[in-house]
Amino acid sequence: MSATQPVEIISPEADNSVPLLEVRNLVKYFPLTRGILFKKKIGDVKAVDGVSFTLRAGETLGLVGESGCGKSTTARTILGLEKATSGEVIFEGRNIVGLGKEEMREIRRDMQVVFQDPYSSLNPRMTVASIVAEPWRIHDDLVPKNKQRSQVLELLELVGLNPNHANRFPHQFSGGQRQRIGVARALALQPKLIVADEPVSALDVSVQAQVVNLLEDLQAEMGIAYLFIAHDLSVVRQICDRTAVMYLGKIVEMGEELDVYQNNRHPYTSALLSAVPVPSADQSHRRTRIRLEGDVPSPSNPPSGCRFRTRCWKATEICKTTEPAFENVGGEHFMACHHPEEVAV
């Protein structure tokens, strides 16, 4: 392996000089307690355990992994919805961990969120127009009162909803339409970053693609960056510029599309990819898959050394004793494994 200098990837819409978001060694532990009256701390659930990455303006980074890997907690901690145990979240050059309510409110103008469940994330008693305009009640300097109505209609049109439906209530819309309402609300403050937590996984296949395309179009038009959290590797491959694969609170591999989906080096990435069924008539590869045994270990008591070793077919003694370093293996490609997969030719 040749020594690698940091390689600048030039993409048209991204300004590479300063990343929009930089996460450094982020840690989030949840205390495990016993007892009701006299609570005693008996350990920690290590939901996020040292996660680092950068996100450039206008870029989409996917965070993938199975349930319990810490992808959603990472997102919530970045947004300030959970208090980080340690580490830094640097947004536009400023560490926002531990900021007060007032300051965080200002930051959130540029950092919005779209949730998974379009059924529970919209207030059922509010009309679509008031849902979309709600952020302006908090950030009341952004759009003057007399312009709000016309702006709402514009936003609805932008996300592909009929502006004539502005006075309807959420229950009058289908799942896909509700997710569009959620996107319109997130766009109301013209954010630089949208954290999307499983935004399409509750939607039917035929509608999922509509929302994926909508997110791509909005990015091309407005230069928004996405932190896209999903368990579905197919969706992430489609929408993301770079992908980070998480396992038990850590990123095990990260890179551009082909780094992760074709020339992946970490065994967990290989196993995850080979478990995803491919919707194709050609099933010649049906039985040639890597099978992981057992379940993911508990994050309250992760294995020593490499956390994946208990399910890894390549694990040796060193994996037990030494945690593999998260290394650059060329370009934008990083991974943490003592026995990486051969590079496909």
């Binding site: 199975e66 349930s67 289908s174 896909g176 339409q177 039917d204 296949v205 035929s206 509608v207 999922q208 693609a209 509509q210 994926v212 395309n213 791509e216 368990h231 579905d232 590797l233 197919s234 969706v235 491959r237 489609q238 599309e257 989906y261 196993a271 995850l272 990819l273 080979s274 478990a275 995803v276 069924p277 491919v278 919707p279 194709s280 008539a281 050609d282 099933q283 049906r286 898959r289 099978r291 992981l292 045994e293 057992g294 379940d295 993911v296």
Partner: protein
């Protein structure tokens, strides 16, 4: 003359060959707001050792059709209003309750999506699996316990002997699904219906459970009906596919036929709109619009408002199911303009 002879011949072959034969099944729910025709004409057959996938989105009627076969539809509001379901030549829909109960469990087993709510939280899993033997086979507790252990080992639950006395909440999602599979295969059913068996599971665990189902199917020679919304899962395990839309079976054929050369605009639309992990496309091609409101189905073809091949005649009548390959009733589509799709 020859044509009719051929038809009756294939008809008789079907009734003797097939374990399960569903013909023009119709189920409706009479609710306050009107009548929902949840299943509105569904026909397919299932042979021993074969996997038939029923593919559809939410509201397509795929799960209701399975519940109708099992005879577990709440009535009212649900009513089976037409069609026939024959198991080994015997009509299930007109059968008495007692006889039906024997077939359910003994001959036809079912696995549900949500194992946590399908299992009883206050009984140990060993007891619940054993119940199948005590109820249906009249075994003693001790015999039933031995059978439970055998089954838990069969579905590869680690430390089965120790885990007999554990309760459902003490298991992970994948292990719970294995327990439900153990219960469903306890009495060696000839047909297993699996309704979204892996939807709530992570992909690596999903792969384990699908492997287990495939292995059990081979060992026991069961016919498997797999109900799913996931095109990938279908591609992975199905021999034949029935695509459902708004209560109707709109296309059927072998996996190769349906996924390789769709003959219905909806199937083609699904294939184009779904992202794949093995390849990235420039842009997904979604199906326009939204799934239909079953209370207000459009006139004519239910897919017509979202269909790129739509013409004026699509607005008139429901398109009949027609054979794509003349003489092969297993390869059919319900589209007036299927030849435009099937190129």
């Amino acid at each position: 003359m020859a044509a009719t002879l051929q038809l009756s011949e294939s008809d008789s072959v079907e009734t003797t060959d097939r374990l399960l034969e569903v013909k023009d099944l119709k189920v409706e729910f009479r609710i306050e707001d009107g009548v929902v025709r949840a299943v509105n004409g569904l026909s397919y057959g299932l042979s021993a050792g074969e996997t038939v996938a029923i593919l559809g989105e939410s509201g397509s009627g795929k799960s209701v059709s399975a519940q109708a076969i099992m005879g577990i539809i709440d009535s009212p509001p649900g009513f089976i209003t037409g069609g026939s379901v024959k198991f080994e030549g015997r009509e299930l829909l007109t059968m008495g309750d007692e006889e039906r109960r024997k077939i359910r469990g003994n001959d036809i087993g079912m696995v549900f999506q949500d194992a946590l709510s399908a299992l009883n939280p206050v009984y140990s899993v060993g007891w619940q699996i054993g119940e199948m033997f005590r109820m249906h086979r009249g075994m003693s507790r001790k015999e039933a316990k031995a059978e439970s252990l055998r089954l838990m080992e069969r579905v590869k639950i680690p430390d089965a002997a120790k885990r007999l006395r554990a309760y459902p909440f003490e298991f992970s999602g994948g292990m719970r699904q294995r327990i439900m599979i153990a219960m469903s295969i306890a009495l060696d059913p000839k047909v297993l219906i699996a309704d979204e068996p892996t939807t709530a599971l992570d992909v690596t665990v999903q792969a384990q459970v699908m492997d287990l189902l495939a292995e059990l199917q081979t060992d026991y020679g069961m016919g498997l009906i797999l109900i799913t919304h996931d095109l990938g899962v279908v591609a992975e395990v199905a021999d034949r596919v029935i695509v459902m839309y708004a209560g109707r079976g709109v296309e059927k054929g072998t996996l190769k036929e349906v996924f390789g050369q769709p003959a219905h605009p909806y199937t083609e639309g699904l294939m184009r709109s779904v992202p794949r992990s093995d390849v990235r496309v420039d842009r997904l091609e979604p199906i326009i619009g939204n799934p239909p409101d079953l209370l207000r189905l459009p006139k004519g073809c239910a897919f017509q408002p979202r269909c790129p091949y739509e013409q004026e005649d699509c607005l008139v009548d429901e398109p009949p199911l027609v054979e794509v390959e003349p003489g092969d009733s297993d390869r059919a589509t319900a589209c007036l303009h299927w030849e435009d799709v099937y190129r």
